[in-house]
Amino acid sequence: MSELAVAMPGLNLNNPIMPASGCFGFGREYSNYYDLSELGAVIMKAATGTARLGNPTPRVAETASGMLNAIGLQNPGVDKIIEHEVQFLAAYNTPIIANIAGSTIEEYEMVAAAFNKTDHVHALELNISCPNVKEGGIQFGTNPVMAAKVTERVKRVSKLPVYVKLSPNVTDIVAMAKAVESAGADGLSMINTLTGMQIHLPSKRPLIANKTGGLSGPAIKPIAIRMIYEVKQRVDLPIIGMGGICNAEDVLEFLLAGASAVAVGTANFGNPLVCREIIADLPDVLNRFGFASVQEAIGKAVFV
């Protein structure tokens, strides 16, 4: 196994770097910048049961060392994604992870089941930061019972390993992780964005038309590292870590905290080549800090 390779349920990655869901579309645009086969894997933009148009604009705003977004799950629906986008990505030599979302458990099931139809998707990332319309709009991801239920139901219909993507907007991240672990999750993906708001002074309105948006970028990295650390101490699932990663040093910090692989989101916007550059830099950074391989660095922070 090469120094950068990592194996996780359903995923044999040549390296631990993947673009984060929603920050890379379905790869088409970035395929103009470099060969997507260089990536550890690609995590696609969220898929829902039917096409969604998303939120009104503005949908993004810059914040100190971060950004807010409220795209609103805009996507062409799972069938078109499988037909056009998975087809496009399948031409590259890189595993595909499908991020799935829904407004009801039934929609999650339907989307998960749809991905059984293709052989090109290697894992599901279950995005539970969505409001459950049947439960008064409470997010699946902020209630351990609801999170466990949707995980269990998706596991039941899907033939693929399921990585549950945890929301950081919770009092007890370990309780959330444990809930989805006992519901059968194969892995965790963390963290999604923190809910934030910015008010535009001239208009006195929230800058994001949706009022609130998800905070991402380097600003949230300390929160991501803390949550991964906490979960890793108490839960046995492999973790895809994310939140503010910009360079290979950041990747090593996530590996040390307990992530087995990482996703890079917001940083793609400041530099479309960032994933490729991180992959190129990673061997040096590993060696500089005394690791022979990615596998060796996972969870190696010293907490005593």
């Binding site: 148009l53 604009t57 949908r59 917001t266 400041g270």
Partner: protein
Amino acid sequence: MIKKEKLTIIATEQIAKDTIEMKLKNIHVSETVVPGQFLHILMEGHTLGRPISIADIDKENHIVTILFKVIGAGTKRLAEYSVGQQIDALGPSGNGFPLWQDEKVTVLLIGGGIGVPPMYCLGKQLAKQNVNVIAILGFQTAEYVIYEEKFNQIAETYIVTDDGSYGNKGFVTDLLDQVEEFDCYYTCGPLPMIQAITGKLKGKDGYISLEERMGCGVGACLACMIPANNESGYKKICSDGPVFRAEEVTI
């Protein structure tokens, strides 16, 4: 094709209130850019790029000109850059204006405020291709007027200011009836201006350049949507635009 490029600043100057003109040297951008395209400028310490239109192209010397208004942290920072420094940008980004090449054609350019620069880039190209160009340029006040002489060289030019402190008093739309017949119009400026223009000129062949807050600048993040009358129901300003046919999108 859009690429990540380093551009070298070879001149930077304040040419009107809060308005900077910057000349940038770069082979790829200068050789491939067309009027209406923009640079997505990436600055250290800023998470998101700043889209700025190309205002002039000098292919021979590999120079492109941008004009920007200092309105927030990013443009303030950009204004502090000095000659010799390099900036990172994605470019040329987006799709430009369709071009006529016919001396029997008359086009009307309508620019508002910092929407004027891409109109100049377009007008200069059209004039070179022997198209008749008329330009209506609107500014808040006299202090913000830019590129008047340059426009005089390529177009029959009308200036309006909101307060009448320079040129005619009023809005660009006030002059629409006063200019001669045209075959096609192009416009860039604040959204209310564009809405007024497309309203008044309904049915005319027209192209509008739109703005929206951007994430990726390349078409991947879906930040910069505009409702459209196509199958998917939307277009992306960064990659399908910023130039659209007036009736193609819903503004």
